[in-house]
């Protein structure tokens, strides 16, 4: 069993006990524990089930590379699935639940899958679920959905807050082990601005666990002294619990700081995303130990040798009383020696190598009386939910059992892989180092920055340098090199510290154990613990032709779990190389992509959520609308009243009332959101002639003209009324959503094509409040305000004039988007509310009511006016909409003119705008398609038109619609069929799109 030892743990404080629960069971740990060490101290080795076979799984590692031990953490607004117990710091009251099992962790029905494993090989999903086709939707998918997935999705809203942090530095060091500390110190001494990130809650990495002497003192002292020196440097900033998540172009690095995961009651944000621009980056990210591939290597109790050592030294926790060590390198001997010195039993060390002589740690182990078997391997592990023993064999053979040794833990080490993720994220290349059998950064091919020079330097174990002395020298040199690139100089007397060297025998690559393992053993040899990928699966993939490492990965799902193959990748591709009879470098690696370790989505969102996700734009009259029953709808970033509800009436009833009132009496519309662009200069007229399809240069001062704007592709992008203000000034109204994009569109052409034209464009949308005063009583209302002549004679249709109304300085445009007598009146934005109030006051006895955007839509649809975004969708040209009258025939050029001459644009079969009138007066469904004769190649009915706008018109007492229909204008009176998604067929007659006041008499009074 695993238990807490009497020996002290480096990182725990036995005076601070903490209570926590696992699957509802009360447990105890200490401050400084990770959830992993605390679970082990409570003999909780079984922590989860694997993804596919639901095999019992225990803790394998002690850090971010852990593949098995994922739990649901917390509850309600603080519930979070898939949290690694090895990176979760213990706190008082922590609640954890194991995942991926049913009904319980101890007894899991899904485990039946392991007996079916013969039928669930690599690529099983692709082979099995193809046929019969209908089975996917009704049988396979529901079953898979029930059984797949690790943690539960949270149901409550996240209670915590998150933030972004911007930082700039000369040298960013990622990793706070001895390499990172030394690199930060050296870089700091050059005077460079340095930031140092460490992902865990302590400094020094694994050097203090593994021991060693630096400049004649224990490495612990070196860590303390270096840290003290860094803290005294003003130009160095250091952060614990901050992981370097990704390295991106031009020295952009994301750091992920976990501020209160370990202290949920602490005020402030939970996570902070650091967005760093670093001139140089040093990756001192260490290395990860590799598992060995032997049968039963996934049984709880089989662990990385270094992890076992970490639990003893850092947390005073032993994983088992009798630990068998199996290795292909010297490093794992440290574990055996550590365990032995802690008073625990190490019955045997199985070393796959055959060494000519005992040196260094091997000799030390033997001297401690530990049995060492050279050239030996694990044939298979005994046990189910816990290791009970190991069968040993010769590494050279096929697995014949030589001896059975009872034990309750196995420490395995297949060598070390440098953490090259951050080096690789932005294009750093790798080289295969055959001496240590690992991929290490190829320093001649670093990620390149804006100047084309390398900006990342690996240091220490991350560079493939493992001996303590080498690590310190390498880190010192890396930092000096990085600082020198930036013209910082290291003082001459500063040199690297020196560590005592250990005698070491070379490791021997071992990709399968024993090397000739039978098929039966290979089926029990796990590569990827989380996704249940075994040696046999990768070999099958190779046999079936998945020879590229990227394809084999996806076919087998190797390395695709939440740990992204930190333990499995190298073993997997070595297995693939073996099956293909190729060498490892020629097979290559899969791509390393950020983040290094999962980061919270909330940290990426940062502050941008809820009401501050986007700025909201409000008109000067917004508060009045809100206080008077307005139901708002978003139009771009604006909020516009959709309708003003009175009493208990429904939204629909409110809209109907607003339409009728405007047609019969007086409606007021807040039109402030309409885009207003001033275009001014000697060449403004010429410029507008290019922007609009119609002629704007000939517009007379004091007059207005409706204009269309197309893209160079010929498609209609915006429309609005243009007013000529003076000799060289025009005011262009755009749609609400188009103000910024049309402004940008004009600027683009002025700056990049006609830069010699003298034109200035200003967006004055927010400078004015604009009110549309609409209806038969509109003129009376303005006359009551008084101050200027608004008679037909003084201010005709499509004219504008400056003046005063009720004491307000106004500009009045006599334009109409409703077909009624209508004035749009602009006042300075600051007077918007007062002017609105004044209009309501004089309007009361004239029946004035405000109306919203839906009423506006119905009014314009009754008149057959198009709406950008309804009648247009980026594929529609003005000619499709019967707007040929607004396209100048005289102009030699305008944006879109040449495109509109292309054969597809002049095709007589383009769908054209018509009105649609339902036969039974009902309302057509929005977006419905009209079907014609016959079927297309896919057996679907041919489509001959579609609805672009559809409303119930209270004026006409029926449903009205506009649509684009094949040969529409030539088919007046024909009845089309529109199948709805509700299963009903809607019939509508093709009519003129102007449903109301065809002659325009109402607006012309």
């Amino acid at each position: 069993m695993s238990t807490r030892l009497a020996t002290p743990g480096r990182l725990i404080d036995r005076n601070k006990p903490l209570n926590f629960t696992f699957n509802g069971k009360n447990m105890r740990g200490y401050a400084g524990d990770t959830l992993a060490s605390a679970l082990l101290a409570n003999d909780q080795m079984l922590v989860g089930r694997s993804f596919k076979y639901h095999r019992p799984r225990g803790i394998v590692a002690s850090g971010a590379e852990e593949p098995n031990a994922l739990v649901n953490l917390g509850r309600d607004g603080r519930f979070e699935p898939n949290q690694r117990v090895t990176t979760t710091e213990l706190f008082e009251g922590l609640e954890a639940q194991s995942q991926n099992h049913w009904p319980s962790l101890e007894f899991d029905v899904g485990a039946i899958n392991k007996h079916l494993s013969r039928f669930l090989p690599a690529g099983f999903y692709y082979k099995m679920f193809m046929y019969p086709r209908a089975f996917w939707k009704h049988v396979y998918e529901p079953v898979i959905r029930h059984s797949a997935g690790l943690g539960k999705a949270p149901k409550s809203r996240d209670e915590d807050s998150y933030e972004h942090f911007y930082a700039f530095c000369d040298v960013l060091v990622v990793g706070g082990g001895v390499a990172g500390l030394q690199a930060a110190l050296t870089a700091g001494r050059t005077g460079a601005r340095v930031i140092l990130f460490e992902q865990t809650d302590h400094w020094g990495g694994r050097a203090p666990v593994d021991g060693g002497m630096v400049d004649g003192a224990p490495v612990d002292n070196y860590v303390d002294e270096t840290l003290a020196a860094l803290k005294l440097m003003d130009n160095v900033q250091i952060r614990l619990r901050t992981m370097g998540a990704g390295v991106y172009d031009h020295g952009y690095v994301l750091g992920y700081e976990r501020l209160s995961d370990h202290a949920p009651d602490q005020a402030g944000p939970r996570h902070r995303l650091w967005r760093v621009r670093a001139a140089q980056v040093i990756t001192a990210t260490g290395a990860i130990e590799r598992p060995l591939s032997f049968a039963g290597n996934d049984i709880p109790g089989v662990m990385l040798a270094s992890a076992l050592r970490d639990y003893v030294v850092n947390y005073g926790v032993s994983v088992g009383d009798r630990t068998v060590v199996v290795t292909n390198n010297d490093n794992a001997y440290l574990t055996a020696i550590t365990l032995k010195k802690a008073g625990l039993d190490v019955p045997v060390i199985l070393d796959a190598r055959v060494l000519p002589e005992d040196r260094g740690l091997v000799a030390q182990a033997r001297a401690l009386g530990i049995r060492v078997l050279m050239g030996h391997a694990v044939s298979s592990v005994m046990g189910g939910k816990r290791v009970t023993g190991v069968k040993i064999c010769s590494q050279a053979g096929e697995g014949s059992v030589l001896e059975e040794i009872p034990c309750d833990a196995i420490a395995m080490s297949g060598g070390w892989s440098p953490v090259v993720h951050l080096w690789s994220h932005c294009g750093g290349k790798l080289r295969w180092d055959s001496a240590t059998a690992c991929f290490a950064p190829d320093v001649d091919n670093p990620p390149k920055g804006a100047d084309g020079m390398g900006f990342v330097t690996p240091a220490g174990a991350a560079a493939g340098v493992f001996a303590l002395d080498d690590v310190l020298h390498d880190a010192h040199a890396a930092a000096e090199g990085a600082a020198t690139c930036l013209d910082f100089k290291l003082p001459r007397d500063v040199t690297s510290p020196t560590a005592e060297r250990r005698e070491e025998s070379p490791m021997a690559p071992v990709w399968m154990m024993p090397q000739g393992a039978s098929a039966k053993l290979r089926e029990k040899s796990w590569l990827d613990y989380q996704n249940d990928v075994k040696v046999s699966d990768v070999r099958l993939a190779a046999q079936e032709g998945f020879v590229s490492v990227e394809h084999a990965k996806r076919y087998t799902t190797l390395g695709m779990a939440t740990d992204q193959g930190k333990l499995s990748n190298i073993n997997g591709l070595a297995t693939l190389a073996g099956a293909l009879d190729k060498d490892i470098p020629s097979v290559g690696t899969t791509t390393f992509r950020p983040p290094y370790h999962p980061i919270s989505l909330a940290s990426i969102a940062g502050e941008a959520k809820g009401h501050i996700f986007q700025p909201i734009r409000r008109t000067p009259m917004h508060d009045w609308h809100a206080a008077n029953g307005a139901e708002f709808e978003p139009v771009g970033q604006w909020r516009r009243p959709y309708a003003y509800k009175r009493g208990l009436e429904s939204t629909h009833d409110a809209v109907m009332r607003e339409v009728t009132n405007t047609r019969e009496k007086l409606g007021l519309l807040d039109a402030s959101t309409l885009g207003k662009l001033i275009v001014k200069g000697p060449d403004a007229g010429r410029f507008l002639d290019m922007m609009y399809t119609n002629m704007m240069s000939t517009l007379k001062i004091g007059k207005c003209r409706y204009g269309l704007m197309c893209s160079e592709n010929g498609f209609l992008i915006d429309d609005g009324v243009v007013a000529r203000i003076d000799e060289d000034t025009w005011l262009c109204h755009t749609t609400t959503g188009g103000a910024e994009t049309i402004h940008a569109h004009m600027e683009e052409w002025l700056q990049t094509e006609w830069w010699d034209w003298n034109v200035y464009v200003a967006n004055v949308t927010e400078q004015y409040a604009q009110v549309a005063v609409v209806g038969p009583n509109a003129r009376k209302a303005l006359e009551k305000l008084g101050g200027m002549d608004v008679s037909k004679e003084a201010l005709g249709f499509m004219e504008w004039v400056d003046g005063t109304l009720g004491g307000f300085k106004v500009r009045v445009y006599r334009i109409s988007f409703s077909g009624e007598l209508s004035y749009e009146i602009a006042v300075d934005a600051g007077y918007g509310q007062a002017f609105w109030d004044a209009l309501l006051a004089v309007g009361t006895e004239l029946g004035a009511m405000p109306y919203g955007t839906e009423c506006l839509h119905i009014l314009r649809a009754e008149k057959g006016f198009i709406m950008i975004g309804d009648e247009t969708d980026g594929t529609v040209i003005p000619q499709d909409l019967g707007l040929g009258w607004a396209i100048s025939k005289k102009k030699t050029d305008y944006l879109g003119k040449r495109a509109q001459e292309r054969s597809h644009m002049t095709d007589p079969d383009r769908w054209k705008l018509v009105g649609l009138e339902t036969v039974d007066k009902s309302t057509l469904p929005d977006g419905a398609y009209a079907v014609g004769e016959g079927t297309n190649a896919n057996g679907q009915r041919n489509m001959i038109g579609r609805v672009t706008s559809t409303y119930h018109s209270p004026t006409l007492g029926r449903g009205i619609a506009m649509g684009l229909v094949l040969n529409g204008p030539e088919r007046m009176g024909e009845i089309l069929s529109f199948p709805g998604t509700d299963g009903k067929d809607y019939e509508a007659k093709i009519v003129n799109p102007v449903f109301y006041d065809l002659e325009g008499e109402k607006q012309n009074v």
Binding site: Y248, D249, H250, G251, Y252, R277, G427, K448, G449, A450, D451, G452, E712, N713, A744, E747, E748, Q751, T752, E753, W755, T892, D893, K897, R898, A899, E901, R902
Partner: protein, 110 residues
């Protein structure tokens, strides 16, 4: 995320402050042009693995347009320059040739 320099306002800032708008130095063809000319102007774009001249706008800054010479493979930026030019200025061409001796403006044009 690239770091981009705006030659109009002098600011060097993150890519999110800017917006890329594709190939630079296009010649506009309007009415009177052939279908081939118009097609080439409207749709055909170079997609080199290497040196590329691009249009950028300082969208969340000064709002002005400019050009950037950049390597699409390494993301190296050779320089930013005025949008009011028909061809890359000599100074930019020299910068590119300094870093990419095999590259020539003549080969680029053909």
């Amino acid at each position: 995320m690239l770091n981009i320099h705006c030659p109009n306002c002098g600011v060097t800032a993150e890519e999110t402050e800017f917006h890329a708008h594709g190939e630079a130095h296009l010649k506009r063809f309007g009415p009177g042009s052939t279908d081939d000319q118009f097609e080439s102007y409207l749709f055909m774009r170079k997609n080199p693995k290497g040196v590329h001249f691009e249009r950028w706008r300082h969208q969340n800054g000064c709002g002005k347009w400019f050009h950037v010479a950049r390597c699409t493979m390494t993301l190296e930026v050779f320089g930013s320059y005025s949008a009011q030019t028909y061809t890359p200025p000599q100074e930019i061409i020299e910068k590119i040739q300094h870093r990419r001796p095999d590259w020539s403006a003549e080969a680029e044009a053909s």
